[in-house]
């Protein structure tokens, strides 16, 4: 009896296929309107924050490296979910119009800040991994600090940082699902809504998992391309 029940639930019948078909478009709408933009925009802003933070950290100026340290420490030391709630519910509750964010903007802020902190550590480590001789060679032909950084160090650090940054990026795709908790209509929230009407949690959440996996798989293919391009100058 129990065995029959399990089998019935694992194999897809016609009704299941219909449910999958009906849910696919709404889910993809969540992907295209929210999951993808949220990922791309917050990764872009996060990277900018990360480069600035990393440069602050290695600047040798106490005030700047102090700011960078505090920022990284706070973000890394607290859960992303809590950060999302603080930005959206917390700040939104202050009664200051300016701090009442739209869910999408709230998610963008929290995800960017989060990405910025983690990626800054990656970028800092990549910069420090470049041989000191490269700085000296750059200086010896008369380059300033910024010229050395831009022309010699960062291009090489980029190559080093691509694998870990790709990891962050792929992680970010999945972390956008947390935005469901602050009412962003991204894919996972859509899925929850569909489950509430179809009562098919296994089916729908498996479908969602498959879509996340396909996205991440495509991203890892793109990562391979980028790595191959940047590795052209190493043995």
């Amino acid at each position: 009896m129990a065995k029959m029940y399990l089998l019935n639930n694992i194999f897809l019948n016609a009704a299941d296929l219909q449910t999958l078909q009906d849910s696919f478009l709404p889910l993809m709408r969540g992907v295209l309107y929210y999951t993808v933009p949220l990922t791309l925009i917050s990764f872009f802003i996060g990277l900018l924050l990360a480069v600035i933070t990393a440069l602050f950290r290695i600047s040798g100026v106490k005030l700047l490296s102090g700011i960078a340290r505090v920022y990284v420490s706070i973000i890394r030391g607290t859960p992303l979910l809590v950060q999302l709630f603080i930005v959206f519910y917390g700040l939104g509750n202050l009664g200051i119009e300016f701090l009442k964010f739209d869910p999408f903007v709230g998610a963008l802020i929290a995800l960017s800040l989060n990405t910025g902190a983690y990626a800054s550590e990656i970028i800092r480590a990549s910069i420090l991994s470049i041989d000191k001789g490269q700085w000296e060679a750059a200086e010896s032909i008369g380059m300033s600090y910024l010229q050395s950084l831009k022309r010699v160090i960062l291009p090489q650090a980029t190559r080093v940082s691509i694998p870990p940054l790709s990891n962050s990026f792929i992680g970010l795709v999945k972390e956008t699902s947390l935005a469901s908790t602050i009412l962003v209509a991204e894919m996972f929230r859509k899925a929850q809504e569909i489950v509430a009407t179809t009562y098919q949690p296994l089916l729908i959440y498996m479908e969602v998992a498959a879509i996340y996996w396909v996205i991440c798989f495509i991203l890892s293919l793109i990562q391979d391309q980028i790595e191959a391009r940047l590795n052209r100058y190493v043995k």
Binding site: D131, G133, Q134, E136, A137, A138, E139, S140, I141, G142, M143, S144, Q147, R151, V152, P155, Q156, R159, R232, Y233, V234, K235
Partner: protein, 245 residues
């Protein structure tokens, strides 16, 4: 032309250069020898201010930097433009092709027009015997070839003095000759050079003066014949003996 006067340099409590003075006339070649840790690299690095001495003066042509005063970055960069540095382990830019390596200084720093910089770079590459390697990456070259690119890169900024820090000591023996030959050619063309090397044949053929350093001091100096054939100081004698074995 190039002079270093009463230079002292400390790393923490360790005094690495003790009141060093040298003077190189236009077109002359000075070879610096000495045991490991004697301060040879530091001396070169003070000459183009990769290291800042505590005291003393460096001057090239009519520019003088007095290190007992506050030294500004533009001053340092100005001095660096007069010197080309060749490193022991080449330090080529691995992400740039050979010709891009050579053009980098002129284009980025001196704002020379790209086409013009390219012409100069090609001429330099031919001079170091690598005319056919313009578009390869450094990793595709042998050590000797990489070092010759290193020399071309340093020459590209049109320096008045070339500094070499053990340019052949990372090379397999059969590759040393090609690099020394390029350096000899440079010397013959009248380039002013300060060379840290233990290649005796090069020193004997090319050097106008040999300086022996030990423990941060210049222990002995003179013509190659004087220093090599007839050293006055015991420390020099001992060091030369070690080199021959």
């Amino acid at each position: 032309m190039l002079s270093m006067t009463n230079i002292s340099k400390k790393f923490g409590d360790l005094e690495v250069l003790k009141d060093i003075s040298i003077n190189v006339d236009q077109g002359k070649v000075i070879v610096v020898i000495g045991p490991s840790g004697s301060g040879k690299t530091t001396l070169l690095r003070c000459l183009n201010v990769l290291e800042q001495p505590e005291r003393g003066e460096v001057s090239i042509d009519d520019q003088t930097i007095d290190f007992s005063q506050k030294v500004t970055k533009p001053e340092i960069r100005e001095l660096r433009k007069q010197t080309g540095m060749v490193f022991q382990n080449y330090n080529l830019f691995p992400h740039l092709t050979v010709i891009q390596n050579i053009m980098e200084g002129p284009v980025t720093v001196q704002k020379v027009d790209k086409a013009e910089a390219r012409e100069v770079a090609i001429r330099l590459l031919e001079k170091v015997g690598l005319g056919d390697k313009a578009d390869v990456y450094p990793y595709q070259l042998s050590g000797g070839q990489q070092q010759r690119v290193g020399i071309a890169r340093a020459m590209a900024i049109d320096p008045k003095v070339m500094l070499f820090d053990e340019p052949t000591s990372a090379l397999d023996p059969e590759l040393i000759g090609e690099v020394l030959q390029v350096m000899k050619d440079l010397a013959q063309e009248g380039m002013t050079m300060v060379v840290v090397t233990h290649e005796m044949s090069f020193a004997k053929d090319v050097a106008d003066e040999v300086v022996f350093m030990d423990g941060g001091y210049i222990v002995e100096r003179g013509s190659p014949t004087e220093v090599f054939e007839n050293p006055q100081q015991d420390r020099t004698k001992r060091f030369l003996n070690l080199l021959q074995h």
